[in-house]
Amino acid sequence: MIEHLGPQLFNGLVLGAFYAIVAIGLSLIMNLTGTINMAHGSFMTLAGYVAFTIVSRGMPFWVALIVAPLIAVVVGVIVERTLVRPLYKREPFYSLLMTFGLSLIAEEAYRLIWGPNGVPFSGPKELSGAVSLGFMTFPTFRLFIVAVLVIAMIALAVFLTRTRFGLRLRAAVQDTEMIAALGTNTQVLYMINFGLGIFLAGIAGVLAAGMLGLSPTSGNQLLMPAFVTVIIGGMGSLFGSIVGGVLIGMAISMTTLFIPAASEVSMYILMAAVLLVRPRGLFGEEGIFG
């Protein structure tokens, strides 16, 4: 048992990084506009399929890793402008239902375009091997994934705290009316913010497609853990999403080791426990949503 501990912790970390990046995208969109984006997983799948198409046309994986999320962003921004925007002033469940419907439509659309079965997609040849970490051998591609996700998170943090736009974004989360009164175009702010969230989902989508499988349902399978991550980490806190993601990843891999049958429910038990002790999540800020 004990010899598995190191590898399992590491597995949990990779899984957690995934959940975190998806959760951060969800949080960004939710914090600013109150939109619970149920179609977030669909954007991940979209980026995965676009990457698959790019690679199968003979272009390298690296191109796909950049271009596919950007295409997802373009689609995301169009969705935000045409479908999500009219619902900003309504109760949150309007946009929740709309995005949920959108995710169903997207799933069927992917099925029509790319077929109901999974498609073969893997990481680049250069990262296909496994490296020895001393206590275990670990796939190079997974190490690369962790690196990309960590860089993405750091870049986001710098963007939000060190740039003028990031400042506006954070200010708008606190008080949209005031920011609007001071002359910021909040509609543009909403749009860029939505695009940013989708971009993160897109990167996660391409990486997930290389590591796991790629089928019409694959993105949605990662969505529920991401929602739980947001709740555990605390709404309104991006740092909370990172901690939440890692905690869930650890919980799943540790229960797989000791009580495999409970691996699926472990994240919900963790969520219940966190909510009992801290109803607003670990790093949730009270009043951030008014």
């Binding site: 399992q8 949150p92 796991l212 499988g213 607003r280 949503f289």
Partner: protein, 421 residues
């Protein structure tokens, strides 16, 4: 305020409502304008979700059988019509839709299903409705074992057949220390029982058995346990997208180079979704479009089926196409021969009748348990297909007679009581 208020409590409620909605999408819409005297067959398949691929192919097989009969003038002068419903891979939804098909659409029989849990659910409902149910694609032993019913027939192989057809030949090739990755539901548990029986007979050992929930995306936590267990063979029992994920990750962890890999069954659908470097091993095969061992020598019926199906659907048929075709063709043959749609008379007309079809040799639905007794095959995977045919991934090596790999009639009679009324 520009934004509406959203707090943690309403978020949890909304997210919960979203999930609930995901699990119970409106069941069905009534159909109008159907031909009055068509012979309706209810087809329940998981058109959405992880088994959508197999569902589509089974349906293609059903459609080909229906079209073939309609071309010949239908059955008893009536046009055969498939009434399709999406059972969403959910036993509850399937039960509801089975009732709808029988009560509202007035279908004369039910067919279909992919997941064993759904098959068992439809088997139970159809029994209470007194309607024939032909399970084309749910493999769990119980369907023709302890949960058998007089009105239920099964076309695909039982888990017992799959495990016994592959177990002995895998042990011969790769030794007797097995590590199993098992899906944690009816189908997986049934496979586990089958393999334990095989190992019990040949004196082998299960050195690890990981039960993975259906829909597992990340297998790393299970895979990292393999090294310490030191198996001679890793048996992968999961199916569909789970199979793709598992094999892909085994390759990433370098396990496919270290250990022999195989399993009771692999379907072409998930295999096509794997990158070539992760296609590996020896697997049970339930039918294959390109081998004399599976199709039989000079079997025109089979070669015609393969040619027509390939032309019509743009890709070669899989075992799922075969299940759909054989199931409906047998049901309609029985109706035409017995000149009735009465369920009891039909059931009697199907039992123990030997027939030739699109596979090698003859087969029959066994009278005692209603399992289709037909051969099962073992194949080695060719990762890149053959020159000119990238779909040609199986090199079929062994053929197993059904009687040698299914439980004996005596054993079956101990658990299966058909309960004719």
């Amino acid at each position: 305020m520009i934004r509406p208020v959203l707090n943690r409590r309403s978020f949890v409620t909304l997210a919960g409502a979203g999930t609930a909605a995901a699990l119970g999408i409106p069941a069905y819409l009534p159909r109008i304008g159907e031909a009055a005297d068509a012979l309706k067959i209810g087809l329940l398949e998981p058109y959405t979700g992880v088994y959508a691929g197999p569902a589509e192919n089974e349906t293609a097989g059903y459609q080909m059988a229906a079209d073939a009969w309609n071309k010949r003038g239908g059955v008893m002068g009536r046009k055969v019509e498939l009434v399709k419903e999406d059972e969403q891979n959910d036993p509850g939804v399937a039960a509801q839709k089975a009732r709808k098909l029988v009560n509202q659409d007035k279908v004369v029989a039910l067919c279909g299903t992919v997941s064993s849990g759904v098959s068992l659910s439809v088997a139970g409902v159809s029994n209470s409705l007194g309607t024939l149910f032909m399970d084309s694609g749910g493999h769990s032993d119980d369907v023709t074992g302890k949960s058998c019913h007089w009105n239920v027939f099964r076309t695909c192989h039982s888990t017992w057949m799959e495990t016994h057809a592959t177990g002995y030949s895998l042990a011969k090739r790769f030794g007797k220390r097995w590590f199993m990755i098992t899906p944690d539901y009816a189908y997986g548990h049934a496979l586990e029982t089958g393999f334990k029986d095989v190992l019990g007979r040949i004196g082998g050992e299960i050195v690890g058995n990981e039960l993975t929930p259906l829909g597992t995306t990340d297998f790393s936590s299970y895979l990292t346990k393999i090294d310490a267990a030191k198996p001679t063979l890793v048996l992968v029992l999961v199916q569909g997208d789970d199979y793709t994920n598992c094999l892909k990750q085994m390759n990433q962890f370098g396990l496919l180079k270290k250990y022999a890999v195989g399993g009771p069954q692999v379907e072409l659908e998930p295999l096509y979704g794997l990158p070539p470097e992760a296609r590996e091993g020896y697997w049970g095969v339930e039918w294959y479009y390109k081998s004399e061992k599976t199709l039989g020598k000079n079997n025109k019926l089979a070669t015609d089926f393969v040619a027509e199906s390939t032309k019509r659907f743009g890709k070669p048929p899989t075992a799922r196409n075969c299940f759909g075709y054989v199931t409906l063709d047998r049901l309609l043959t029985a109706m035409a021969e017995a000149k009735t749609t009465d369920p009891v008379k039909l059931a009697r007309a199907i039992e123990n009748v030997r027939f030739k079809s699109i596979f090698n040799g003859t087969a029959y639905y066994r009278k005692e348990d209603h399992q289709l007794m037909w051969p099962m095959w073992v194949a080695k995977i060719r990762p890149n297909g053959t020159p000119g045919d990238k779909f040609d991934l199986f090199d079929v090596t062994d053929i197993q007679a059904p009687e040698a790999v299914e439980q004996s009639i005596a054993d079956k009679e101990k658990v299966c009581k058909l309960g004719y009324t």
